[in-house]
Symmetry: C2
Subunit: 431 residues, 2 copies
């Protein structure tokens, strides 16, 4: 006999891009954690259900962070005066190298997992380091904390420091072992094929990774056209390729389950290729400005019909909070609005909220919004600590929380239909 659970509160979600649906004092009915429906009045048939009344609080979908580098968590918010290359040398590589120590990995990743949950992120697509054991530790910590999604063991067999480089054979062998083991061990965290980016992967490695993706039917994530030097470097490395995207495409790594981070400098033809292949663009506004890569135009990509999702891209991004990423995406788009003489409309709150919730969920084959048949991924938001205001409809309250709130406004978190316990998920640990 299935369990009926009912959540009552001010429900806000984004079932379509650009519009918020608000059910003031509405009901979410769950059957064994699966959304049965949203209702303005509770239907008779569910009157026997167990109601959790969140009163005046907001109930919204939880966030998806579609591009983050887990091993860079210890360097978050540091070295951002440096140029990319110096930043990588002085901070990123030395930090990532530490994850050969699985004890260190366990300490850092358990804290990272707890803080993702604290910040309301229940779906991720994360980069690990190249270390197989540490990658399994990351998957384990995320799963224990209640987070779902993908984690990738990073592959790199060239153009990286000795202690962060594998031989091609080693890289492919380790990746296969990691895939096998992670598919066995984890329920909600799955492997994703992760060539770090073209400059750090030989053609032979790329070819092998393409075959592994096909053999196991796995998704793919990598970086594309993040900054000018990188784009030029890739041209030198692949004189046979007209554009960056082709260096992934020719090895079967550029399909409908591929996440490509950044795409700041993607040309019209590169964007057309992404559209044709159904590739997903991950926009990382905080990272793009912090390491001064450039300014992506989400509006143009959306107008062209590309799939766009959002990512924190820590530690290029300096915050795990998707609230900051949502407002960061809006701010970036306002800069573009100004630069185009107000011709390119900036992102609205409803649009950016959709990208951080519904769009991410869609990548995982569910949603958009609170969709019937999906396991509940939700946050309960409490703005009672904010100053009194004359503007208090639920949509205005959501906007205010996104702009001035943080994890302190998140009172409850649901993932895969289950309410996460602060103790279990580590939410108790402050950032």
């Amino acid at each position: 006999m299935s369990k009926i659970e009912i959540l009552k509160g001010n429900i806000i979600h984004a079932p379509v891009f650009g519009a918020l649906e608000v059910l003031a004092d509405g009901y979410i009915v769950l059957k064994d954690g699966v959304i049965e429906g949203l209702f303005r009045e509770l239907p008779e048939e569910f009157s026997a259900g167990d109601v959790t009344d969140y009163a005046d609080k907001l109930i919204v979908p939880s966030f998806s962070d579609m591009h983050l580098h887990a091993p860079q968590y210890p360097q978050l918010g540091m070295g951002l005066d440096l140029q990319l290359l110096e930043w990588l040398q002085k901070y990123t590589f030395v930090t990532e190298a530490r994850f050969s120590d699985t004890e260190y990995a366990k300490r850092v990743y358990s804290k990272l997992a707890g803080n993702l949950v604290m910040n309301g992120t229940t779906r991720v697509s994360a980069y690990s380091s190249l270390h197989r054991e540490a990658t399994l530790v990351l998957m384990d910590e995320l799963e224990k904390s209640g987070i779902t999604g993908y984690v990738g063991k990073v592959n790199m067999d060239r153009n990286s420091p000795d202690n962060l480089r594998e031989t091609t054979e080693e890289s492919l062998r380790e990746t296969r072992i990691w895939i096998e083991e992670s598919l066995k061990r984890f329920k909600n965290i799955k492997p994703i094929i992760t060539p770090r980016f073209t400059p750090s992967c030989s053609n032979k490695l790329m070819e092998g990774l393409g075959k592994l993706a096909a053999e196991y039917g796995l998704p793919v994530q990598s970086h594309l056209s993040e900054n000018v030097d990188e784009v030029n470097w890739v041209k030198e490395l692949h004189p046979d390729c007209e554009e960056y995207w082709q260096t992934y495409d020719k090895y079967g790594l550029f399909g409908s389950r591929t996440l490509m981070g950044h795409c700041v400098y993607s040309s019209k033809t590169e964007r057309a290729a992404m559209k044709r292949n159904g590739v997903w663009v991950v926009h990382n506004p905080d990272s793009n400005i912090n390491i001064a890569s450039g300014v992506a135009s989400v509006r143009i990509m959306l107008n062209e019909g590309l799939n766009v999702v959002l990512g924190s891209d820590i530690a290029g991004g300096a915050s795990l909070s998707m609230m900051r990423i949502i407002t960061g995406a809006i701010k970036t788009s306002k800069r573009n609005w100004l630069l185009t003489d107000k011709k390119e409309p900036f992102l609205t709150v409803a649009e950016a909220f959709y990208l951080a919730t519904s769009a991410g969920a869609r990548y995982f084959g569910v949603g958009p919004g609170f969709a019937k048949g999906d396991k509940l991924h939700a946050l309960v938001l409490d703005d009672s600590a904010f100053p009194e205001t004359l503007h208090s409809d639920p949509a205005q309250r959501l906007e205010r929380i996104l702009y001035m709130g943080d994890d302190r406004q998140i009172k409850e978190r649901y993932s895969e239909g289950v309410r996460l316990q602060a103790e279990e998920c580590g939410c108790k640990s402050a950032l």
Copy 2:
């Protein structure tokens, strides 16, 4: 007999623009709350002093918020999808009008004062509404909370809703009464002449305000060249003036104690006039992008030798946290760095931190940094809740706190040489 107090910890301040001075495990010696000196070793003569050991924590100067609209606090973080004019109509004017009710003002301003202190801001130059009583309430609440600086009763006798418009005579009469009373009543909060901006003040009012500023020897604050429509509007209103700045200058409102908010569209000649007159520019990066006014170039103004300070400009800005404003100024400058083909250097952490601490203090005639002879304004920062890192020199830790921290990292606050008690300053109330 004077009281010697000694603070021990990792001292970081910005005595000069662009460079942080770090005294790891250093000492700040206070005599009756006044800085006697900074020392790496405690001099014998002070060995009898009462030492407060902050151990591994950071001790830094507190923040100055040099442009904020106190009555807009209730609308913080809302309506930011709207264009300026619609935003003013739908949110700002209706909210400001509420301050005819002094009880409402008391509730809102006591919370605002507490949250400024919570966020580490101990010096302000704030706009009130045009209401004399509510303005005195604001000054009272700020003083009680331990904040120092200036507050201005806003003047507006044209181009505003009926309930937010005074006659010229009324405006000048009320302003004089307010000045007299506030000079009598308050110790650390002083009046500042505040024509809202040229479009809302008739020439007669401007003239009268110039005379009041001269008569009482008061500083001045207003808005300058914030957005394109405003600049054009001012041109229409003052066909006799070549540029916006002259509409203030001709009434004696453009001198060495004048704060001008924004200056996004200030021409070379307008900037030269500010330099000549010693006018202070208040850069409000969060507000400029939220209401999409434009992108100011702090670097150019600094290179030309202008005085530049930072402001939150709530509620155009969506956060009271000067940490957000510091990183916002850096992000804005990185956008300019990209737009100028990397010719215009972006602001470093050390530079932006100087603008939010030392530069603001200099406007008030003290500093820069922890200067001998100044009353202590300081924060004690605790980053122990952050993930372990390989990069932990004090400057790196400060950068990390500025990028990923918030009021939770601020453990103690000193203002005017006194440690603020959470209970008194209202810091206990969450944002």
